[in-house]
């Protein structure tokens, strides 16, 4: 009977220690989940940007990404566009360089943590990381340039015949 308090007290102390360990485990899992979300977002953004604005997913641990390519500004060249179009130009291969919007890759990475017994259980919570990078689409020109296309159209529209 004399051992009962000791055992009870020991159990309480050990229990406290176990709770601490579980808490530590919970924090660790949560940090891992956030780390995965951040890393996945970064990988996906870098890959998408390097892939000429084509969305590329990435997965790290349990993290998944949802990359999207968004429009983000337009070249401020309205005076050039007006002048060039007034000459009947606008269908040439490289003309979209004047008018197409600039683009960004926007990636949201999400992850959830593994379950840990006890009160500090990160399971069910969503951890997020996001990345934004500029990108440029595939070059639309050819190695010899497109002067002939512009010249040909310009001549036909404005100068051919007398």
């Amino acid at each position: 009977m004399t051992n009962v308090p000791t055992i009870l007290e020991s159990a309480m102390v050990m229990g406290w220690f176990v709770v601490l360990l579980l808490g530590e485990k919970g924090v660790s899992n949560a940090a891992d989940a956030r780390r995965s979300a951040e890393s996945a977002a970064e990988q996906s953004a870098t890959k998408s940007s390097a892939n000429l604005c084509q969305p590329e997913s990435a997965s790290v641990g349990q993290a998944r990404t949802s990359p999207s390519v968004i429009e983000n500004g337009k070249p401020q060249v309205s005076s050039a566009v007006a002048m060039v179009q007034a000459l009947g130009l606008g269908q040439q291969r490289t003309f979209p360089n004047y008018i197409k919007p600039m683009k960004n890759v926007l990636v949201q990475g999400t992850s959830s943590a593994e379950e840990v017994a006890g009160d500090v259980n990160p399971a069910g919570k969503t951890f997020e990381g996001s990345r934004d990078l500029g990108c440029l689409e595939k070059p639309i020109d050819v190695p010899k340039g497109s002067m002939d296309e512009y010249r040909s159209r310009l001549w036909d529209q404005n100068l051919r015949g007398y």
Partner: protein
Amino acid sequence: MARPSRELLRSSRGAMALTVSQMFIGAVSLGIGIFRGTEVNAAFHHETTLGHADYGASKTAADHARSANVVVNNNVTMGAIMGPRFGVEADNITMDANAAIAYPTCPNSPTCKVCLQYKANKPRALAKLTWVRAKQQLLWGTLGKLSGDVDKLAFQQAQGIVNGDVAKADSQVKMRFDDPSSSGEIWGGGNADVACRLSMKDTLPSPVTGHAFPLLISPNLLEGLPQTLVQAMPQMICKATSAAGGGGGGGGGSGNDGPQLPEIKAVADQTRADCKALEDSMRCSIAAASGKAGACNDGAEPEIADLSGAAPSGTGARVELPSKVQPYVQCQTGTTGAPLQVSSASGGYSYRNQSGGMTTCTFDRDKCEDKKLTENSDSFMREKLGLPKVVQNLAQSLGGSETRKPSQGTSNPKNFCTCAFSEKPVDETMIGISDAVRKIASFGAAEPSQALRKKREYQSCGRWYFPARNGEFASTPEDEQPFVAAWKWNQTTKCEGGGQ
């Protein structure tokens, strides 16, 4: 003490010891946990702050790359209108030259019909010339100026967008940029000669060249002249130094330095007169050297004067030739293996050189006439046929601006690089927790963390370039890269040779 009491005391002491030790371990664990939490928080803080710098650099560099392709579009459009201008200029000059040949034959010669065609159609050709000149100058002026401004505009827009996006994500982040466009134009001028050369190469084989014939005048009395003129236009209008890409026209002559118009009587007469004047000048110099100054009458037949005995040394007198004559004087030394080849039509002088051989210097009339014919043809076209006069300020004459190329040259200029910097203070609560844990763990010895309080700025850079080293566009010549819209960008940690 009774046994039960002793056992209870021992048990309670053991339990107390256990409790104290476990609580200590628990406290240490708790401290480590909290400290680790602050470390994790700080790591994510640094990573996300760097992410904002990455975004800023990538956005501005990508937009600069797009601007580079806009500059290319401008250059290409400017070149595209220059070709038709070359064609229309060449047609007008050829029409005028036809008229200059045909007018003296009127009214009896069949060639006279060229005059009638000229009178009827010249106004239409002139209207076209006026239009294309005006449009070319307007286009070059406007687009050339835009090319100088476009990077600054792109950077200002990108900076605004990045600042807005970052503020939306985290209002505590401060951004700043180091961009080359803020310190001047990164696309310089001095590229008109390449634009004109490319225009000429594009236009020469196209229907633009010689379009007026036989549409307006038939037959063309100077067959091939429009082609020759279009080939020479980069030199005549854009001051290009090596525009003529070989070939050469028919009746218009085939000089390498420009078109020649020997069919035009005025040009041919002037050329002969110029060369005769130079030859006479040489003759007078020879006469002076031989002690007969003034005895150089114009009507004399060309002869080779022997000056061997004209100087006391016996090595011949020194002939002081005018600088204008010198390019056309050719000297040869005769040996038994290679005897002198002197044209009887060329005047000159000979003398005995120091090694005893005979050196003969003669006036090279063919060379003179070739050179003077080109010069006189050019003058005739500029003064009589309406070709623009020789320009002093090229950009001004072309409309106020030129096509652009990187001001530092090459496909990968060092100043085509931009950097973004981000900064955000670490959360004060985190710093407080970290300080407290470190203080406890060190039994009060640790000072407040300076590492967490230190102002940290994160840098990311991006550069834009022409992909000249490999891939689809590696074959594009370096001087043509400003005319090919394939400029790209990539991310880098710092700008080579500049930035921070």
